[in-house]
């Protein structure tokens, strides 16, 4: 089973954290720090797997975001890479060309999509359609609320490239020169 899933940017800003076992806040901070340090320091084209404490770490970079998870000894590393990929696909399907900004501004949606896909660190549903339907159903249950929609986000600038195209990476690094403070 997965123990945790972290999404962080190239600058080490945490964008999403999901813990599948009880962890103290202090320990969470420690793990987040160690993961970002370790993963960000890896040279490009290294393998996607690491040993850390008693866990296997599997990580992959999509555009400006690193997806990183810790799994137990018996778990399959290659398949975990595809868990990450399937999650990116689901985000992409929901947001349409997902980008880091989508995840920042709709963080609760990113958690909901994850919940449709994983539970307690195990795969709940692998079918993209089934997860999509669950999200759709949830949407139709929502009543239109009075306030006007928020200002449109400029997520046409780049998405979490599913094919690792370097041009997106560059665009992201320009787009996300962080102005400090957030998610430190």
């Amino acid at each position: 089973m997965l123990r945790f899933l972290l999404l962080f940017s190239r600058q080490g800003k945490l964008r999403l954290q999901k813990w599948f076992t009880p962890v103290t806040e202090r320990e969470k901070k420690k793990v987040i720090r160690e993961m970002t340090l370790m993963v960000l320091a890896r040279p490009p084209r290294s393998c996607n797997f690491l040993h850390w404490r008693d866990l296997k770490i599997v990580y992959k970079r999509y555009a400006s975001l690193y997806f990183c998870c810790g799994l137990e000894d018996q778990d399959n590393e290659l398949l975990t890479l595809e868990v990450l990929h399937r999650y990116v696909e689901l985000l992409d399907k929901y947001f349409g060309n997902v980008c880091e900004l989508d995840i920042i501004f709709n963080f609760e949606k990113a958690y909901f999509i994850l919940d449709e896909f994983l539970m307690g660190g195990e795969i709940l549903e692998t079918s993209k359609t089934a997860v999509g339907i669950a999200m759709e159903e949830a949407e139709t249950l929502q009543e239109v609320t009075p306030p006007p929609p928020p200002p449109p986000l400029t997520h046409t600038h780049g998405h979490l490239s599913l094919t690792h195209l370097p041009k997106y990476v560059n665009m992201f690094s320009v787009l996300f020169t962080d102005n400090g403070g957030v998610y430190e």
Binding site: C47, N76, I104, V144, V182
Partner: protein, 921 residues
Amino acid sequence: MPAVSKGDGMRGLAVFISDIRNCKSKEAEIKRINKELANIRSKFKGDKALDGYSKKKYVCKLLFIFLLGHDIDFGHMEAVNLLSSNKYTEKQIGYLFISVLVNSNSELIRLINNAIKNDLSSRNPTFMCLALHCIANVGSREMAEAFAGEIPRILVAGDTMDSVKQSAALCLLRLYKASPDLVLMGEWTSRVVHLLNDQHMGVVTAAISLITCLSSKNPDEFKTCVSLAVSRLSRIVSSASTDLQDYTYYFVPAPWLSCKLLRLLQCYPPPEDGAVKGRLVECLETILNKAQEPPKSKKVQHSNAKNAILFEAISLIIHYDSEPNLLVRACNQLGQFLQHRETNLRYLALESMCTLASSEFSHEAVKTHIETVINALKTERDVSVRQRAADLLYAMCDRSNAKQIVAEMLSYLETADYSIREEMVLKVAILAEKYAVDYSWYVDTILNLIRIAGDYVSEEVWYRVIQIVINRDDVQGYAAKTVFEALQAPACHENMVKVGGYILGEFGNLIAGDPRSSPLVQFNLLHSKFHLCSVPTRALLLSAYIKFINLFPETKATIQEVLRSDSQIRNSDVELQQRAVEYLKLSSIASTDVLATVLEEMPPFPERESSILAKLKKKKGPGAVSVELEDGKERGECVNFNPKPQRTSTPSPSADLLGLRSTAPASGATPSAGSLLVDVFSEAGPSATSAGVNDDGFLRFVCKNNGVLFENQLLQIGIKSEYRQNLGRMYLFYGNKTSVQFVSFNTTLNVQTKTVEPLVEGGAQVQQVINIECLTDFIDAPLLNIKFRYGGALQNISLKLPVTINKFFQPTEMAAADFFQRWKQLSQPQQEAQKIFKASHGMDTEVLKAKLLGLGTALLENVDPNPENYVCAGVIQTKAQQVGCLLRLEPNAQAQMYRLTLRSSKDTVSQRVCDLLAEQF
């Protein structure tokens, strides 16, 4: 279809997030957050009742602030209110908040549980799923208590929607992992197993995680899952890539389910039913065949999914370790991957091959890849891949390739990453010793190790080379010559000086005939290093010097001069000063004969397990080197020293688990128990189980060594005991509490021994000493029978002597990373013993700590992520072997329960220590 167009966006939240992102400094961010917190607080406290939307928005803002890393101390109540909203988005945000910020506030938990209960019984599948997610996310004991009974019912009910079944299965798994005692499968077992047959692939995928976990803990109850899993697997493997529609992932049919099925089968031995087994072998062959087919897609997702199944199939083949044909095919497949252009596959292939190397069927096949692996060690750019290559070389090493592998590892050491050097040094030292055919090679290798990586050569390594040189007279001359040459280097490592000092001090005479290494040359060479060394090395050198005086009388004057110098005889270090003074005096006043006797060559060391092996075991966890331990024959042939029986009483090998020898007390003042020299069967005889045995005292001594073992109106028996490594000594004090003498007083230890001094005067005490040697691990304690006459009446007392396996613990300190690595290596089910039990005493921290220390293990701080928990580590020393042992104790103060988990390389040890310790709290 971006979410923002769907009308549920919260404008205020988006603005707030924008504001935070625009903050130029940490201070500005904190200021903005504080402003928002004040605003939300006033809204929550305001007179106006908030509508659901606002409540949702504010709760969501709080959640955002919390996820930024700030503390949130309010808003929980509003979040709980949202749970009972009938608007989905409000409920959803409420649940998310609760899941992330669960609070142990009992009032709140009750309210949350109520809301969950309502949603579970709502029959609205979306609400039910939300509630199940919340339970799984929180997973607390209170929730398990409230819902562990209900969820299995939802899981197997005929009218439950598929999506709810999926959530229920994984929710139950989460509760089972958190509180196994509360999840009782009993009546549901067979219906849960049959979920493997469910029409809906999603349900099977979710349910199999639950079934795998339950099977690994209760294999017998769930064993019917094997044939179901095989037939499900067979259907998937033989299906075309389009058959499974949505569950086909990049042209691979149901990769997640396939891997889970193969993982489930690894909880069991190969199927006994021939048909089932045949079908499974067919599946495994198909999977291996598919690996050779051209890929259906160039996408990495396709190959990852396909290879994930392949690796899982190979794990199963290795787990069975019974199909030579499949093992060799698996090995060949991994061999292909070793040269694959994908780094990930090379990494995994190296890792998998390590386990394959220990199978007798595939060991030879693995060895054929040696050149590739060596190449990987030299050329891989990624350190984690190089590390796997080094592990594999170690695993595939045997007599035939030892020289090559050791040479490669040595040359790799020169450039190896600092993080793995110490482990590499240990591995080289072990391989060199294990496969040494001629000892000059061994000596060369170790000296090379010290030269190349001296800083990483631990004491165990250089102690070991000295032990071996001392025990093998055919290598002593060569060792002296080599070490002498090594010391010529202008800069040599301090460890080299230690080895050099020791060996020349013992065997310098063997090379003294050569004028180039005459006694004085040797001495000057050693002494030229003296001032560069630390105190312990200097102390060792001083001892070497006095040995020189004995070996070479002609050096006496020179050495005495050195000893007499102020820098020695007035050295500020007490140890050095004392040695200088004593050695000087000794060399001045003792006659040649006395000197020769005192400074005689060291006698051979008793044969024992390599301390290096123990060190690596400590580093890697006991599981990692069990192969070597079983490899006794080979060790015997190559490196064992002339075993000299150290003890006159060799216990009979078949029956003795614990060698006990009672000996006479040292002083004659007390009535003596006589000089007993008996071997006792520690396997308790029939009397051990008889009702008359007094157990209470026994258990009190698990965590302590001294105290009163037994007391009644007549007799008090006190105990003092001490243990070192696998030896112990126990003093028994029999006190006569009466004023009348006891007659015919005798004690028996399981088998009849000689009588003790038959009279114990009123008010007097007799003492008995028992020497204990632990030969191998054991369960039953020795039984002590005491008989005497008091007045006319015959008294008969049977006691278990409090000798328990934990007495032979050596505490082992280690860092968290080491602990977890070792813990992980002991992951086989039989290596673990676990107990969950009610606290029978207070749960005071200090008392718990004292007990755990009393157990004999080291109490490790800052290891467990939860500071409430305790973890300990130690090595049990027996004559036969050392057993590394890891322990974790998780107290739950609210429930007054403990969970105790023991892992060790020996199942009987895990179980026994677990049983003993569980009685202590």
